[in-house]
C-alpha cells in the first residue's frame, strides 16, 4: 500500500505523474491548474526519475512538444484549463490523427471565452465529441475525488498506449483545488530506451536503425481513398474502446425509482443530494460515468427500464444530457439541471430540481 497524504487534486496529478514513470511534462500556466506545473518544478523530478518538465511559451507549443516526444515513444503529458485546451485543439487533432499516445489534463473553468476561473463542466462536448477538426475521439476520464486524480494518471497512460490515442483527464476547479486524503501510487520506473524500442519500436521515430525502413509520424494522407481507410481504422479503434473500456459507478441504484446521472465534481454534489432525498423518502440513485468517452450507454439503458425518470446534473447548459437521452430512449423523461459560468450547484438545489422536474412533473 502506498503513502497516505493530504493533498490538493492538482498537486496529486503532478505527484502521480512522477510516480508512474512519466518521461515529460510540457505546459503553460493558467488558473485553476497552475499548481500542477508548480508542484513538478518544486519536486525537480529530473533529479529523481529523469522526468523532463518544461514551461513552454504557450499551450500551442506545449501540445506540439507532446506530439514530438510522444512520437518518439515517450510517456508524456500536459495540463491546462479550458481556454488553454481550446488553443491545444489543433494539436490534439494532430495527435489523434497521427495516433500518438499521451495524457492531457483539463481542469475546467467557466466559459465561453476568457470566462471565469471558477469550476465548470462546459467542456464536455469539446472533450467527448471533438474540439479540434476531423472525426476523432479522446479517451476521457472524469475523476470525482483526489484519489481518482492519482489513479487516473497511470490509467490514462495505459489506455493511451493500448490504443495509441490521446487520453484526457477531464476535471474542474472543485477537484483540482480540493484537498482530500489520497493513497499515492508506488513508483514505476521510467522505461529505458531499449524497453521503449522493444515495446513501440514498430512505429516510433527513434532514429532509423539499419534493419528497418524509416518511420514517419504524420496525420497527412492526400490520397482520399487511403485517408478513408485511416478513418475507418480509427472508428474501429473507438468502437473497441466502447466495447472494452467503459467505466462507471452506481450508487444506491438497486431500489431506485429515480436516477441522477452526473460526472466528476457534480457527482459528488449529487451523492449528497441522494442522501438528502432518501432521508425525505425519495428512492433515488446515482449513476456516475467515469469514462465520458466511451460513454456508459448500456447501464443507462438498463436503468431506464427500472426507474420512472432521470435527472442529468452538470455544470453546463445541458451537454451530457444528450448522451443520456440517447442511451435511455424515449420511454421515460430525461431532465436536465445545471448551473452555468462557474457557479457550482448545491446539493439542496439538486434535490429541489429532482422534486420539481421529475417527481412533481
Amino acid at each position: 500500500m502506498g503513502e497516505l497524504k493530504l493533498m490538493k487534486g492538482n498537486e496529486v496529478i503532478a505527484e502521480a505523474a512522477i510516480r508512474c514513470g512519466c518521461d515529460g511534462y510540457f505546459g503553460y500556466p493558467i488558473t485553476p491548474q497552475s499548481e500542477i506545473m508548480e508542484t513538478l518544478m518544486e519536486r525537480e523530478p529530473w533529479n529523481e526519475t529523469g522526468m523532463v518538465v518544461l514551461q513552454a511559451e504557450s499551450e500551442v507549443a506545449s501540445v506540439h512538444m507532446l506530439y514530438g516526444a510522444a512520437g518518439s515513444g515517450k510517456k508524456v503529458m500536459t495540463s491546462s484549463s479550458s481556454p488553454g485546451i481550446s488553443l491545444m485543439a489543433e494539436g490534439i487533432s494532430y495527435l489523434a490523427g497521427a495516433e500518438l499516445p499521451c495524457l492531457i489534463v483539463n481542469v475546467q473553468r467557466g466559459g465561453p471565452g476568457l470566462g471565469t476561473i471558477q469550476p465548470s463542466q462546459a467542456d464536455y462536448w469539446q472533450s467527448t465529441k471533438g474540439g479540434g477538426h476531423g472525426d476523432y475521439r479522446l479517451i476521457v476520464l472524469a475523476p470525482s475525488s483526489v484519489q481518482e486524480m492519482n489513479d487516473f494518471v497511470e490509467l490514462g497512460f495505459q489506455l493511451a498506449f493500448k490504443y495509441r490515442n490521446p487520453a484526457m483527464i477531464l476535471t474542474d476547479g472543485v477537484i483540482g483545488q480540493m484537498m482530500e486524503k489520497v493513497v499515492l501510487s508506488d513508483y514505476i520506473p521510467r522505461l529505458k530506451d531499449e524497453e521503449i524500442e522493444e515495446k513501440y519500436g514498430s512505429w516510433i521515430t527513434s532514429g532509423r536503425k539499419n534493419s528497418r525502413s524509416r518511420h514517419v509520424i504524420t496525420s497527412l494522407e492526400l490520397d482520399s481513398g487511403r485517408m478513408e481507410l485511416n478513418n475507418i481504422r480509427f472508428q474501429e479503434k473507438y468502437a473497441k474502446m466502447e466495447e472494452d473500456e467503459v467505466l462507471y459507478e452506481e450508487i444506491q441504484c438497486e431500489d431506485a425509482e429515480y436516477l441522477i446521472v452526473a460526472f466528476g465534481s457534480s457527482a459528488r454534489i449529487c451523492q449528497k443530494a441522494v442522501d438528502v432525498a432518501r432521508a425525505k423518502g425519495i428512492k433515488v440513485g446515482l449513476l456516475r460515468p467515469i469514462t465520458l468517452f466511451p460513454f456508459p450507454k448500456e447501464p443507462i439503458a438498463a436503468l431506464a427500464k427500472q426507474v420512472k425518470g432521470m435527472l442529468v446534473v452538470e455544470m453546463n447548459a445541458g451537454q451530457m444530457v444528450e448522451d443520456v437521452q440517447l442511451a435511455a430512449g424515449c420511454s421515460i423523461p430525461v431532465k436536465y439541471y445545471g448551473r452555468l459560468g462557474g457557479i457550482v450547484p448545491s446539493p439542496g438545489e439538486v434535490v429541489e430540481a429532482l422534486e420539481q422536474k421529475l417527481i412533481g412533473g
Binding site: L6, P32, V174, M178, M179, E180, K181, R268, K272
Partner: protein, 184 residues
C-alpha cells in the same frame, strides 16, 4: 459523525491555513477529510472562505448549502453565511469588524475576541489559531494532540519552532470562547 464547517473572512486572516491545520488534524485522528477553498483573485484582499468536512465515513459533496458550523470573521461573510447554518448548529464570530451581529435564535451563537487576544499574545498572526481554539471548545471534533500533529505535518520544518506559540494561541482561544445565545 460528520462535521461540515465553513470558515469565512478576509484574505490574510489565515482562513485557508486554519482550515488546512484542521484537515491535517482530522487525518491524524484517522478521519476522512475534505478541504475546499474559494480560490482566485477574490482571495487577494477580498473575502476568503474554506469548507472543511471531517467524517467517520466517505465524504460526498465538498460543496454545501448548509453547515453544522460557521466561523465568521467579517461582515460580508456574516451576511452570506449566517443563514447557511443548520438549525441547532453553531455560529462563531469575532465581534471585531462585525457591524450587524447575528440575529438567529435557532442556532448556538458564540463569540471569540480573536483579534484582541492575538494582539495580547503579541503576534497578530496567531489570530487564526485563537479562533481554532475557540472552535475546538465549541466543537471538540479533534483532540488537541491531533492538532499538534496536524501543525507538525502542515508546517514546513523551518517553522516548527513556532508550534509552541500556536498551541498557546489555541489554548487562549479555547478559554476565550463566550456563549452569546443558546439555540431555542
Amino acid at each position: 459523525m460528520t462535521e461540515e464547517l465553513i470558515i469565512a473572512g478576509f484574505g490574510g486572516q489565515g482562513v485557508l491555513s486554519m482550515g488546512k491545520i484542521l484537515a491535517y488534524s482530522g487525518v491524524m485522528a484517522d478521519q476522512e477529510v475534505a478541504w475546499f477553498p474559494s480560490y482566485g483573485p477574490e482571495m487577494r484582499g477580498g473575502t476568503a472562505n474554506v469548507t472543511v468536512i471531517l467524517s467517520e465515513s466517505r465524504i460526498s459533496s465538498p460543496v454545501l448549502n448548509e453547515y453544522d458550523t460557521a466561523i465568521i470573521l467579517n461582515q460580508q461573510s456574516m451576511d452570506k453565511f449566517e443563514h447557511a447554518v443548520k438549525p441547532g448548529g453553531v455560529l462563531i464570530y469575532d465581534p471585531n469588524g462585525i457591524v450587524h451581529p447575528p440575529k438567529r435564535t435557532d442556532i448556538n451563537i458564540y463569540k471569540i475576541e480573536g483579534t484582541l487576544i492575538a494582539a495580547e499574545l503579541g503576534n497578530v498572526k496567531t489570530f487564526n489559531m485563537v479562533v481554532l481554539g475557540a472552535y475546538l471548545k465549541a466543537k471538540p471534533v479533534v483532540q488537541i494532540e491531533s492538532v499538534k500533529k496536524g501543525l507538525e505535518k502542515s508546517l514546513p520544518a523551518r517553522h516548527h519552532k513556532l508550534i509552541p506559540m500556536n498551541l498557546e494561541a489555541i489554548e487562549k482561544g479555547y478559554q476565550g470562547l463566550e456563549l452569546v445565545h443558546a439555540a431555542v
